[in-house]
Amino acid sequence: MSVCISRSEVDAEKETDSAELDRRIVFATQAGLPLVSRPYDELADRLGVSSERLQQRLRAMLADGRMRRIAAVPNHYRLGYVANGMSVWDVDDRCVDALGERVGALDFVSHCYRRPRHPPDWPYNLFAMVHAHDRDEARDKVERIAALLGDACRAHEVLFSKRILKKTGMRLRPD
């Protein structure tokens, strides 16, 4: 009896294995990375793979953007950034993408997105989160965005957060 497995079948099987391992890595690290000298070894042990294989999968996920980075998430309130304003802008559709890139590049903007308008309640299409130590500092920063947008922007507002109603972080659940 001859066993004939084509090369593409082998490759396909490897891909399935990697996809499954990647899923398990996501769930195994949701609580965080182990704080031990060789964290990837410990994680690999838990997942039943070699540390080399685990590190290879982490690099692959970083390279294709599924993983942004392995990093600390600061609690901005407790670090003194208590004025967190969501600045929202009604920017000409013809130049919103070019301008959005420039707003996003400002060092005090943490998130910058284009989102759909909902007129008449909500005319804004560009969102930029601004973090500051107090509201005056936040408003100064918003003015710098306004200067950058110039005539392309018809209106803007800053929505300050008043209260955190819920903050659990993202929880991805297994299927």
Binding site: S51, R68, R78, C112, W122, G169
Partner: protein, 152 residues
């Protein structure tokens, strides 16, 4: 403990760790070397920063959409006398990752994180039906920048 009580080593650690830990056998040693402290001290300080809730989390940060899930920012316009009740109803959904009260006519803003776009639309409809208020769904159409880096 607040930022004013962080010493210079804590500040250096918080600033450095926001940029990302390398993938290598002993990543903490590599960062400790850069900061000029011992690995043991670095690990102890990270644990302390987490215990004091100065860091929300330390580990891999995933892009939920690239993993196949869906995310959306949603807003609602809730009368003040109904606000706490509706907040309770909205927060009861597991898919609501965080929720903020903001100063605006649209005064409730939350992020929905779901396994698929279909599930997201379903949850939006369920929230509308449970609360009796419209949900303004504002999924991102384009991302220009994501990367919180707060110097301390």
């Amino acid at each position: 403990m607040s930022a004013t009580r962080l010493d210079n080593i804590d500040r250096a650690i918080v600033n450095r760790l926001q940029q990302g830990l390398p993938v290598c056998d002993e990543p903490y040693q590599a960062v400790a070397d850069e900061l000029g402290i011992s690995e043991k001290k670095l690990l102890k300080r990270i644990q302390q920063l987490l215990d004091d809730r100065l860091l929300t989390r330390f580990g891999p940060l995933f892009d939920a959409e690239r993993l196949g899930g869906a995310l959306s920012l949603c807003a609602m316009k809730i009368p003040l006398d109904r606000f706490d009740k509706v907040s309770e109803q909205v927060n009861a959904f597991d898919q609501v990752a965080h929720n903020y009260e903001r100063e605006h006519l649209l005064n409730m803003w939350f992020v929905l994180a779901t396994a698929s776009a279909e599930e997201k639309n379903e949850v939006v409809r369920e929230i509308e039906s449970v609360t009796g208020h419209r949900v303004f769904d504002m999924p991102k159409e384009r991302e220009y920048y994501v990367g919180l880096h707060l110097p301390v």
